[in-house]
Symmetry: C2
Subunit: 142 residues, 2 copies
DNA sequence: TGTGCAGTCTGTAGCAACTACAGGGTCAAG
DNA sequence: CTTGACCCTGTAGTTGCTACAGACTGCACA
């Protein structure tokens, strides 16, 4: 891990650059309560430190793993408020894992059908397009 | 296939019921140009027939296969305007197939990590939660 | 001291693909 | 002739951002 604790007085652009987060997304996460409002300079500029960076990295990593913002809020609450959050955090992740697996199953079904119709279309010289015919079929043909 | 051609004078609710489409979605698809505006009764009520139903089924089936509304518009244009649309339709599907495969790969990466952390959490009695620790890690650990 | 430019601020609008009202009109049955 | 179930329109909400516009600040350079 990089040094989070030592950094102070970062502006938004530097925080974004250091974390790879989009500049506007930082402000968005603050607005929806995923990140704390940082202190401001006299001119009203946001001033971040290592703790903000660490928290933003947590959010970004959770997003990479497909957690929704609501789920991330829940995980952060567990981080902040509980001594022993492991069981509840595991449950959040288990529910999400089930979602991910369901999505994979959906996409695999799509993939099978698409692969078949693209193959059936061959070089695209058929008078009746198998893809278009498939789309006009009943849906339980999936 | 069910009988599409014979049906006339359907109202929106019946079309929705017959196709399994949400009532409001029918109107939405008309608004965004995926379905033609149907004729109206003197009172201004939409009046659908079998051709509308067939077209809506096409859209719904394409949505089930994950095509975007833009892709579906393109496919419908090929259906309507071309004698031999197979090559172009196949290309639309091939691009979409690549998207689907990329999404599957993304989700499988997520699944691997989630499965591992949930397993590491065990019964949730650990003092340090492996899930939360993982989320505080650098992102290239994925 | 001025001036230019890059940075920051706010609020708002846009994207996909719906979904769900509110507030009104219509129509058939009882 | 009223009741209830349908229909109509427009608009707002959802998720997770992203991209402005228009105003302000702060620093380097002449």
């Amino acid at each position: 891990m990089r040094d989070h604790a030592g950094v102070t007085g970062m502006q938004r652009a530097e925080l974004a650059r250091r974390t790879g987060c989009n500049l506007e997304t930082v402000r968005y996460y603050e607005k929806v309560g995923l990140l704390p409002e940082p202190p401001r300079t006299t001119a009203g500029y946001r001033s971040y430190d290592g703790a903000h960076e660490r928290r933003l990295r947590f959010v970004l990593r959770a997003r990479e793993l497909g957690f929704s913002l609501d789920e991330i809020r829940e995980l952060l609450r567990l981080v902040d408020e509980r001594d022993r959050p492991c069981a509840e955090a595991r449950d959040v992740a288990a529910v999400h894992l089930a979602d991910v697996r369901a999505k994979i199953a959906d996409l695999k079904r799509m993939e099978r059908v698409l692969k078949d119709v693209v193959a059936q279309c061959g070089d695209g010289t058929l008078p009746e397009c198998p893809l278009i015919e498939t789309l006009f079929q009943e849906r339980n043909a999936i």
